[in-house]
Amino acid sequence: MLKTFPKGGVHPHENKFSAGKSIETIELPKQVSIPVSQHLGAPAQPVVNKGDEVKVGQLIAKSAGFISANIHSSVSGKVSKIEKILDSTGYKQTAIIIDVEGDEWLPEIDRSTELVEDIEKFTAEEIRAKVAEAGIVGLGGATFPTNVKISIPQGKVCENLIINAVECEPYLTSDHQLMLEKSDEIIVGARLLQKAAGAKKIYIGIENNKPDAIELMKKKAAKYQYIEVVALKVKYPQGGEKQLIKAVVNREVPSGGLPVDVGCVVQNVGTAYAVYEAVQKNKPLIERVVTVTGKSVSKPSNFLVRIGTPVSNLIEKAGGLPEDTGKIVNGGPMMGKAVKDLSIPVTKGTSGILIIKSDEAKRPKTYNCIRCARCVFVCPMGLEPYLIKNMATVGMYEELQNERVLDCMECGSCSYGCPAGVPLLDYIRLGKTNLNKILRSKKS
């Protein structure tokens, strides 16, 4: 029996069209737009001015607070302006716009492909400092600063480092392909993260629809007794931190708690690779793997993309925008954000660009709730979405808190499965947002 999380979950069509497509490096764009807020927490503070010359890997915006991250230039050239642009969140954000000239890297960055396995030369402290310096954030999509996550608070112990290679979102294959091509580097990155967090054991959780990756990672991990590759049953949302911990080590993160409360730290597989590059190669987070896919896309692909490249360049490279495009999503179909403009840049959290056909882009017709209880059965957090929806509609905020609306991680399983087409998650978000506002105002 393959391991999985026990409660709830759905199994959407996987549609992994770009699986097995090797990672192609995309040409440099003429101009990049690098937002200063690509992570959870405070936006970074720009440290360059209009007209400055920058090189690849140069710091252009500095972390501004405990939860924040450095931003580096992904190209060499001249800063043309610093202005507000539309990004994938749909809001206007400050971004540093750089006109590309040549491809000149900072000299300290090691651009060779030679594998550096030795991790003994760094202390845990040094690894954390290098990760923070390189501006690494969780590349699975949540973009939480990695150095904060591997700094274990006083009084807590991290026993297990869990590498999240689940990639439970349909369509996306960037993590899968990265594992196939960079397995040695990922193992080193995982060991670095383990050392920084002080964990005893490393688990690599991979869903069973990627047998080649499971086999390869098992082979690479064989010489380390403390690394275990865990094959998981395919079920969405297994890539959710709490679900993955439950599936792999059978521990439940308490409501409102953090993984470290049960002795675990979860890191995405792409993050592990970025950590390897940052620590062993001095390379900051300036590029990432992005899947460009969709049912009508002529060449579904996995691209290695510099941060700040416009999405339109990627779509062009994947065969152009299909005629029947109805919606473009930054991320996967379950949790990704629909974008309204093709000029938005690829950011640290962009794991994929999904192009949805117009006939699938519209939501289904909404009927009365028929109380079929599917939303209750599929909720991985054990909530009652139908009830939360009703309470949020009439503003019963105290009751919403008792119904643990804040536990919802917005995986969308309820809306996905609702036969009456009720947009349950929209109402849950409404309840969460309003309840959070009330709680904040009570505090102050």
């Binding site: 959407p12 919606k327 028929i370 109380r371 209750v376 996905y416 036969p419």
Partner: protein, 334 residues
């Protein structure tokens, strides 16, 4: 330029290919085996009753939505067909057409539309209609035609009592259960395949179970409600039979006769009127099982499944209020 026409909405951007009407037509498909058995044993009368009930249910839903509520007409979602078929399954095959129509008016008008239509009704509409007819027309509703295999001549068939009624009457007159059952013309295997008196859709346990398995496969129902009802009835009547096998019928007899299978698989599992959590569903099922046995053994009626389901329908909001699913990350007290 496609770019100007991009749709922007919140996630999720994918949707399971299931809908209210697909679920309703799934239930209709699941009822077909039982319908075929009823045609086999009751002839064309079974089709007559079904057609009248379905047509009347759709008609009254249309009338009410179009002219009384002046709102959207949703007769195509299939729920009126399900109500009509379930009502037909719950009446004798020789019921006069006008009584069926009255049943449909009560089912749709009182049971469903007066509460706001599909999704808002607290009681199973078909059962509301059925119980209304049972109380209003007790003679017609309990004159069960004798089964005649493949008799398509629409003549008036002889009528007789159901095995449940025969046993209840016999025990009341002091006969022992074993002697009654030996004198019955129907064996247990007859009951299993449906060769006995009763409402037209309830007779064949095997056909109903096939329909139930189909609904389980399509994920229209979960196992919780049918299994808890059937297990409760089996255990409760098993205990009684163990205490006094002369006075009480054995569990298998209870499971195969009357409307138990129809109720457990098709009526109690009605999504709208059953609880929302697995624990709640089990409590609801146990409640239906207990009340059914209480009515069958000590009540005035020989059959109690419909009443039991309606009574537990009334408890559904209370069950939903108190029974919560197991939350992820709930701190467990040790």
């Amino acid at each position: 330029m496609a770019q100007n026409k991009l749709i922007v909405s919140l996630s999720p951007h994918d949707h399971a290919k299931d809908s209210v009407s697909k679920i309703m037509f799934g239930v209709v498909i699941a009822m077909i085996p039982a319908l075929l058995v009823s045609v086999y044993f009751f002839g064309l009368d079974a089709i007559r009753v079904n057609l009248i009930a379905i047509a009347a249910c759709i008609f009254f839903e249309w009338i009410i939505q179009k002219f009384l509520l002046k709102g959207e007409v949703t007769i195509t979602d299939g729920s009126a067909i399900v109500t009509g078929m379930l009502l037909a399954f719950n009446v004798p095959s020789n019921l006069p057409w006008w009584i069926i129509v009255i049943g449909a008016i009560v089912s749709i008008g009182v049971g469903k539309m007066s509460f706001g239509g599909l999704g808002n009704n607290p009681f199973n509409p078909a059962l509301v209609g059925r119980v209304f007819l049972l109380i209003s027309f007790p003679v017609q509703m309990t004159s069960w035609p004798k089964v005649q295999v493949l008799n398509f001549a629409m003549t008036d068939a002889q009528t007789g009592a159901t095995p449940l009624a025969i046993v209840k009457e016999g025990i009341k007159n002091g006969e022992s259960f074993s002697s009654i059952i030996n004198n019955l013309p129907t064996s247990y295997s007859d009951m299993f395949f449906g060769q006995m008196g009763g409402s037209l859709g309830e007779i064949s346990a095997i056909a109903l179970i096939i329909g139930g398995l189909y609904m389980l496969y399509r994920k229209i129902i979960t196992w919780h409600i049918p299994v808890s009802i059937i297990a409760t009835v089996a255990i409760f009547t098993g205990i009684l039979y163990g205490i006094n096998p002369d006075k009480y019928a054995d569990p298998l007899f209870h499971l195969l006769t009357g409307g138990l299978m129809l109720g457990a698989i098709f009526m109690a599992t009605d999504m709208v009127t059953s609880p929302m959590t697995s624990k709640g569903m089990i409590i609801y099922g146990v409640g239906i099982g207990v009340i059914t046995v209480l009515i069958r053994v000590w009540g005035a009626y020989p059959e109690g499944v419909s009443f039991a389901i309606l009574i537990m329908n009334a408890f559904t909001p209370l069950i939903n209020y108190y029974i919560k699913p197991k939350r992820f990350g709930e701190i467990v007290k040790k």
